[in-house]
């Protein structure tokens, strides 16, 4: 399923990569259409539908009334009718109003229809903070969505992965929640992570959903994360290298399905595990990662695993407070030091 393509020199932001993947699929497949708030002439608040309205017009790039209940519910209906809708929930924090459509319909219609109804839709939604937008605009909620059966969940860390995962998501017969992190989006006002803007081939390609990537090899510790957390890990790995340690970084890319094999192989090699998650500490992705490793082989670890996650508090606005709470490279390095002392 993965098409290996030599990456050219053209760099794209994640926003551009998502828009390009969508445009290519819309050209190929008349069933693909887009709905959401401000996704038309404005091109999406986070830029990921830019250019689509001009090329495909208002019937296929549909600005909607402000009713997530209506347009996400409608997308489930359209997908059940054989269409391949892409809808955008502007901030994942706003899922409350439309969660019925997401987890009771989108995620369950196939199961309850005995497999007769397919729901091939993509729900794009922005995640993450770090730019002082407080606790109703900055959450990740990875664990919340990944916890619920019936939908795939992806979260890319760079534009190459974003394009390949977006194309794969549109092709997928399952509903896919595509969680893009705002700090990786390439929108100036969000303070963009440079490492997310990478060379992206112009031609269409897919990345298999459910495959993690070892983005840096090492042998002393495995740092596992997704989306923005991957970049914190890469910075921490660099800092640790300066101290003489070698950290391996695993980018999950997909939460559902979760690539447990890549995880276990990495920890089997390094013997140490630190999970970095911008989502809440408890009951989430970090616990699942650790359990996935430990329940498979508790003897592979040379030290107790650690997590660098968001504290179990609503995300505060004040920049100082938010920076106190967010995971970062220093916290990862600190966790590694503690691990080596204990």
């Amino acid at each position: 399923m993965t098409t290996t393509t030599s990456a050219g020199t053209r760099k794209l932001t994640i926003a551009r990569a998502m828009a390009e993947a969508t445009a290519q699929e819309m050209r190929n497949d008349p069933r693909v259409f887009v709905m959401g708030e401000d996704i038309g002439p404005l091109g999406g608040v986070f830029g990921n539908t830019r250019g689509l309205y001009d090329e495909f017009g208002p019937e296929r790039v549909r600005d909607t009334p402000i009713s997530e209940t209506a347009f996400i519910g409608a997308a489930v209906g359209a997908a059940s009718d054989g269409m391949r809708p892409i809808v955008e929930l502007m901030f994942v924090d706003f899922f409350g109003v439309c969660m019925d459509a997401i987890y009771n319909l989108m995620a369950k219609n196939t199961y309850f229809s005995g497999g007769k109804v397919k729901v091939p839709m993509v729900l794009m939604t922005s995640t993450g903070g770090g730019y002082s937008d407080a606790g109703q605009h900055s959450q990740c909620l990875y664990g919340t969505f990944a916890h619920l059966p019936g939908m795939k969940v992806v979260a890319p860390s760079n534009a190459y992965d974003a394009k390949g995962l977006m194309t794969a998501a549109i092709h997928d017969d399952n509903p896919v929640v595509f969680m893009y992190h705002k700090s990786l989006q390439g929108m100036g006002w969000l303070g963009t992570e440079k490492g997310a803007t990478v060379p992206v081939p112009e031609e269409s390609y897919t990345l298999e959903i459910g495959k993690a990537a070892v983005v840096r090899e090492g042998h002393d510790v495995t740092l596992v994360s997704l989306a923005a957390g991957v970049h914190h890990c890469l910075r921490a790995a660099q800092a640790l290298e300066d101290e003489g340690f070698s950290a391996e970084v695993v980018d999950l890319r997909s939460l559902v399905p979760l690539d447990r094999e890549t995880l276990r192989a990495s920890v089997a090699k390094t013997g140490r595990l630190i999970v970095v998650d911008e989502d809440y500490h408890s009951f989430g992705v970090s616990g699942e990662i650790i359990a996935s490793v430990v329940e498979h082989d508790h003897a592979c670890l040379k030290a107790a695993p650690r997590r660098v996650a968001y504290p179990d508090i609503p995300i505060p606005f004040a920049p100082t407070m938010e920076q106190w709470a967010l995971p970062n490279a220093d916290k990862i390095v600190d966790a590694f030091h503690q691990m080596m002392l204990s």
Binding site: P65, I66, V97, S132, D133, S282, P319, T320, Q323, D330
Partner: protein, 394 residues
């Protein structure tokens, strides 16, 4: 049992209700004179000037803080520009102890009730004196003493809450009501419909105040609803409704004054649709040049609600050019000086990260705080103490 009062017909007749055309209530023309046949409202000099000062303060605050956002001093901002008459004219028609459940563009209501410049600034900068302890994003004000519920970002969620708050007022036998503000875009959320239905069924003293300002971020009203505005929806719920020129402070005040009487005396909820225009961007994160024309904006600038009220005040000789100049200068100075003080104040203490999540800090949170403290002691240079600057927005 069916409750319909419908008569029987033997002809299949469909209707989209378009024969019920709602007029727009207006009193004041742009030059400050009343329309022919319009009656001068009951508004004394003191109150008129209190309203006007709050409107001008809001305009000055908004201009200064948007500039501060552009200078990188503030993470995020939202202006009320163009909608001052709708917000302040309506709040002024209430009792000061009536409850306000706002959306996020109603800073003028707080200004009218006496929220101080310092209180505004402490919230905007999320410093140690902010009532919300630095936790909510800018413009998400709240004031228990001024009966203004802390703003919550998700749209339209304030509308059902307003029904519940007002129901509490009714059960407590208070002669007070709740007003809830929202935009015409938010009125597309299911919460709006559910709340209006419940309000009339339960006979709740609540005023639903829709600021129909033409745009939901980039989405114009023509993409938002097919009907003639938001007001006709009231019929479906058998709710009293009025549409008013939202740039006409006298008409807004008069409509809300009468609405309050109906609400408080008869527990008969009211929907008010104020026709206005969002002259500024949706927020500091938005640029309207991509979706609307300068010409359209200019046409609405001609209908500036503040200028319209000023003309009326000057006509009555309650206000002069000198008064105007003096007030503008003093407001600008006060806003600037207060901002400079607020941005230098410390952020809330580290411990406030984990308080108020529950009434008592849980063991898990206490442990997470201790780990964080130990980490910050090791890396002090990575965590600046001053009330720093973020880059927020929605």
């Amino acid at each position: 049992m069916t409750t319909t009062r419908s008569e029987v017909t033997y002809t299949p007749t469909f209707t989209d209700g378009d024969e019920f055309r709602l007029p727009t209530f207006k009193l004041l023309q742009q030059d400050g004179t009343l329309y022919d046949g319009a009656e001068a409202p009951d508004l004394d000099r003191d109150k008129a000037l209190r309203i006007y000062r709050a409107m001008l303060f809001t305009r000055v605050l908004d201009e200064r803080m948007m500039a501060a956002q552009r200078q990188g001093r503030l993470s995020f901002y939202m202006q009320c520009t163009g909608e001052e008459a709708a917000v302040i004219g309506s709040t002024a028609a209430l009792d000061d102890a009536d409850m306000i459940m706002a959306q996020y563009r109603e800073q003028g209501a707080l200004a009218y009730r006496g929220f101080t410049t310092d209180e505004f600034m402490n919230q905007l900068f999320g410093n140690e004196q902010d009532y919300g302890k630095g936790r909510q994003m800018p413009i998400h004000y709240g004031s228990a003493k001024l009966h203004y519920m802390t703003i919550s970002s998700p749209l339209a969620t304030q509308i059902p809450q307003a029904v519940g708050y007002a129901y509490g007022q009714k059960l407590a036998g208070e002669k007070h009501c709740t007003i809830t503000y929202f935009g015409e875009g938010a009125a597309s959320e299911g919460d709006f419909h559910a709340a209006l239905n419940m309000a009339t069924v339960h006979k709740v003293p609540v005023i639903f105040f829709c600021r129909n300002n033409g745009y939901a971020i980039s989405t114009p009203t023509i993409e938002q609803f097919a009907a003639d505005g938001v007001a006709p929806r009231a019929f479906g719920y058998k709710m009293q409704v009025i549409r008013v020129d939202g740039n006409d402070v006298l008409a807004v005040h008069e409509a809300t004054r009468i609405a309050r009487r109906m609400v408080v005396e008869n527990n008969s909820p009211v929907l008010i649709e104020a026709m206005t225009y969002r002259l500024a961007a949706h927020s500091s994160s938005d640029d309207p040049s991509g979706y609307r024309s300068r010409k359209e904006e200019e046409a609405w600038r001609e209908k500036d609600p503040i200028l319209r009220m000023r003309h009326w005040l000057q006509d009555r000789e309650w206000w002069s050019e000198d008064d105007e100049k003096a007030l503008q200068e003093s407001l600008r100075r006060e806003v600037l000086e207060t901002m400079k003080r607020a941005e230098k104040r410390q952020p809330p203490a580290l411990e406030t990260l984990v308080s108020d999540v529950y009434d008592v800090i849980t063991p898990a949170l206490a442990e997470q705080l201790e780990q964080l403290k130990a980490h910050i002691r090791k890396y002090p240079e990575a965590y600046p103490k001053s009330a720093g600057r973020g880059k927020g927005g929605a």
